[in-house]
């Protein structure tokens, strides 16, 4: 079985530690990850802004990168969902469209892969902290990732999960939205961070580095000490420490 990691630009360039945590967790389950080096970006920034020709250009690199993989695993629900748009993007190119369908069917977000494919919910992690969870919109609403992270968090010993008020509300990232409509996006992320503060959690955990970068950036700007982590990092740290 060939399992490939789709690292996504953010985790590649800014948060390689997330990819590393993911690789270590999977290796402990006996999964040997591959990293096809031709991969780049899923094309979402261009797609969402309406530049579909540009999106197709980068989408092609993803299609070719994972052609002979049996599974593709990604630390982002949003980038995973972007692959679901490929079928439509390549509707005039039957061969690429066929590849797009295959890729969509075999691509999983990290927690989906652990729970749905490997059937694992308890990694033997120990993380004695107060944690709150932000469900990112694309992962939870569009891919339907709701239970998987909960199961994994419940499997962590010592972890105290506190509910985040208005958890389902978008953090205001939205890609170019955060730049184009900076003040609206700023109001949204400020409110999200306010709610996180209300929980008095030490750690905010999530499944998408784009949203987490947005929220962490606001918390840090305001001097809030909340630690922001991808669930893969939390699990890996819990196993190492625990």
């Amino acid at each position: 079985m060939k399992v490939s990691v789709f690292i996504t630009c953010l985790s590649d360039a800014i948060y390689p530690r997330v990819g590393e945590a993911m690789a270590r967790i999977l290796a402990r389950q006996g999964v040997r990850l591959e990293f096809p080096k031709v991969q780049t970006c899923c094309g979402q920034p261009a797609y969402n802004s309406g530049y579909w020709d540009d999106a197709r250009k980068t989408a092609r690199t993803i299609l070719s990168a994972f052609q002979d993989s049996d599974f593709v695993v990604s630390p982002s629900g949003s980038c995973t969902y972007m692959i679901h748009h490929y079928e439509e993007l390549f509707k005039d190119e039957p061969e690429l469209q066929r590849q797009a369908r295959e890729l969509q069917a075999k691509t999983y977000e990290f927690t989906q892969f652990l729970v749905q494919v490997l059937g694992v919910t308890d990694l033997g992690a120990h993380f004695p902290h107060k944690v709150t969870y932000h469900p990112s919109c694309h992962g939870s609403r569009l891919l339907g990732i709701k239970e998987e992270p909960m199961q994994l968090l419940r499997g962590v010993e010592g972890l105290q999960l506190v509910p985040l008020p208005f958890a389902d509300d978008c953090c205001g990232f939205g890609g170019t939205f955060a730049v184009k409509m900076a003040d609206i996006s700023g109001a949204m992320v400020t409110e999200k961070a306010d709610h996180i503060k209300e929980t008095e959690a030490e750690v905010l955990v999530g499944l998408d580095m784009a949203c987490l970068m947005n929220i962490a950036g606001n918390l840090r700007r305001r001097g809030e000490p909340v630690r922001v982590m991808h669930l893969a990092e939390l699990l890996e740290e819990g196993v190492k420490v625990g």
Partner: protein
């Protein structure tokens, strides 16, 4: 075809209506009056709202929205700096969406009904010409004058001609977004006909000389202190900011207006093709008064309001109130099939229905936007929207606001290029789609709007160049590696303690609210070789059950892709 006996008035004579109105006013109106704010209820209210006091005009002045800035960014800026508006909008949208969640959960089979609702709307819109004709034929058999208006101007002229033909001096109106779309009050005033809004929220908005900022709760952006101030100016005496007192004042005032009015004007929630009937949902009882007291009734409806049968109404009557306000049913639901018959206790002698196109038929046959016509105007997408929550409705710049307005306004006008800045005011979070009782994929439509603008060559020039650059670099792993290296060198100039916090240059907008993380010293693609070596050295044997499970999943995924491909051809 037999015409049902849901004739107006037969089971709701005027006297009962008035009593029910009183009851409803106490219980329901105050629930959904406006964006109330308990936190502001600590005595600061009225005095601090002098600004809105200056805006008070007579009910006869209902200007078009003109003073608004041109761009959504500027309009949003106004809203974001208006603490009262933001508090009011948050307060009421929260109540509405929580109500909707409870009502849909308590229903038990919400998703099944939602899918049924969607199917009814899809079917009707796919055969809209047939059902429209059926509706018109049946309504005419019932004695209704049915008119078709291709444009807003035609609908306005038809309305004015009817008003002139009956020598009308005053019109009482129940809530209608279509008449807002037509700026009909303004037009009526131009021929000296006074138009009086009788929905409480609309009445307030009319007094303020504003337009509705929500399709269900027109005055959602005002709190009760602001409303008390407006109504006090109207009454010529100080009314206390108690919602029951305020509603009571308006009720007394409107009762006179109902009795003098020459025309009752309504919108239409659903039009039933099989009997040519129209159905109104409301909480205040004012629509009953509007459709029973005046001698002439004019109903304005968008051409997509049709559903085939009364049976379909059962589904809609379940979806609409629960989605709109979290009510299981609205206080009043009136089915009206024509003018007053001999046996009726009340009702108009003359009834007109004006069916409006105004850009709707442009969506027919458009695979990306046809589903817009499925909308039942429940407002759930506004209440769920995190952008609407912060900027309210006026920032959208059109008659319809929120996610549905952001798509509907440019779609109806077919001028995507001019309007699409509003399509950019969304994070594409999908909350609208999740909330929508008929599952309209508004988040996808917003992307389609953006794409059409780009395809028309009307994209922002800087963004166009940026995207070209992005796709060139991100379309090639080697170039991306080089770009990352350059970025790492470049960032040394501006990074401090692992973050970039400057608010100058392109990072200004982002960094006003955040700091930016720096690029990692070693990106994943460079780190991989050593990591892979280390991991494969210590790799564990996978347990056989897991291995079988994986193989099974891999097979399933191949088959799923295959099936999808077969189905697609």
């Amino acid at each position: 075809m037999s015409v049902r006996t849901e004739q107006k008035g037969t089971n709701a004579p005027a006297s009962t209506t008035a009593e029910s109105l009183d009851r409803a006013a106490g219980r329901q109106i105050t629930d959904f009056l406006a964006g109330d704010d308990i936190a502001a209820g600590t005595g600061t209210g009225v005095a601090e709202h002098g600004r809105s006091g200056e805006k008070v005009r007579k009910a006869s002045a209902h200007p078009r929205p003109s003073a608004q800035p041109d761009t959504v960014r500027e309009r949003a800026g106004l809203a974001l700096n208006d603490e009262f508006l933001r508090k009011a909008v948050k307060f009421t949208t929260e109540r509405l969406r929580n109500g909707k969640l409870e009502a849909s959960e308590s229903h038990g089979n919400w998703d099944i009904w939602r899918e049924q609702g969607r199917q009814i709307r899809l079917h009707t819109i796919a055969h809209l010409d047939y059902y429209l004709n059926l509706f018109a034929d049946n309504a005419r058999l019932n004695g209704v004058h049915v008119h078709f208006a291709a444009t807003a101007e035609e609908a306005v002229s038809l309305s004015l001609a009817i008003a002139e033909s009956v020598g009308a001096r005053t019109v009482v109106k129940s809530k209608s977004m279509v008449t807002e779309e037509l700026h009909l009050n303004h037009a009526l005033e131009s021929i000296d006909v006074e138009a009086i809004e009788t929905d409480l929220g609309e009445y307030i908005i009319q007094l303020a000389g504003e337009t509705p900022s929500h399709i269900i709760i027109p005055a959602i952006h005002k709190n009760r202190y602001q409303i008390a101030e407006l109504l006090s100016a109207d009454a010529g005496e100080t009314l206390s900011p108690d919602t029951t007192i305020l509603a009571g004042y308006v009720r007394r005032k409107l009762r006179e207006k109902f009795l003098e009015a020459d025309i009752g004007m309504t919108g239409c929630n659903f039009a039933i093709a099989e009997t040519g009937s129209m159905v109104l949902f409301e909480n205040e009882g004012n629509a009953r008064m509007v459709t029973t007291v005046p001698k002439t009734q004019i109903t304005l409806m968008g051409m997509e309001r049709i559903i085939p049968s009364w049976e379909d109404l059962e589904v809609m009557a379940t979806l609409l109130p629960r989605s709109a306000t979290g009510q299981r049913l609205t206080v009043y639901m009136s089915g009206i099939s024509g003018p007053r018959r001999e046996s009726d206790a009340d009702g108009p002698e003359e009834m007109h229905i004006i069916i409006l196109d105004n850009g709707r038929s442009n969506q027919l046959g458009d695979p990306e936007f046809q589903e817009l016509l499925n909308c039942i105007r429940c407002g759930a997408c506004l209440n769920a929207c995190p952008v609407y929550r912060h900027i309210g409705g006026h920032a959208y710049g059109g008659t319809y606001s929120g996610p549905i307005g952001a798509v509907l306004t440019p779609a109806l006008k077919s001028n995507v290029a001019e309007w699409d800045d509003i399509a950019s005011a969304s994070s594409l979070c999908g909350a609208c789609y999740e909330a929508c009782p008929v599952k309209i994929p508004l988040h996808d439509m917003l992307v389609s709007l953006r794409r059409r603008k780009v395809e028309a060559g009307r994209g922002n020039p800087l963004e166009t160049i940026g995207m070209k650059g992005f796709s060139t670099v991100a379309g090639n792993a080697k170039l991306m590696g080089v770009a990352l290296k350059m970025g790492r060198i470049g960032q040394r100039l501006i990074a401090r303690k692992g973050v970039i916090s400057t608010r100058i240059g392109p990072l200004k907008g982002w960094n006003t609210y955040r700091v930016t993380p720096t690029l990692a010293e070693q990106p994943f693609r460079e780190r991989w070789a050593t990591l892979e070596e280390e991991l494969s050295a210590g790799l564990r044997e996978m347990n056989p059950a897991m291995k079988r499970r994986m193989e099974e999943k891999a097979r399933e995924s191949r088959e799923a892709a295959q099936r999808k491909g077969d189905g697609g051809h």
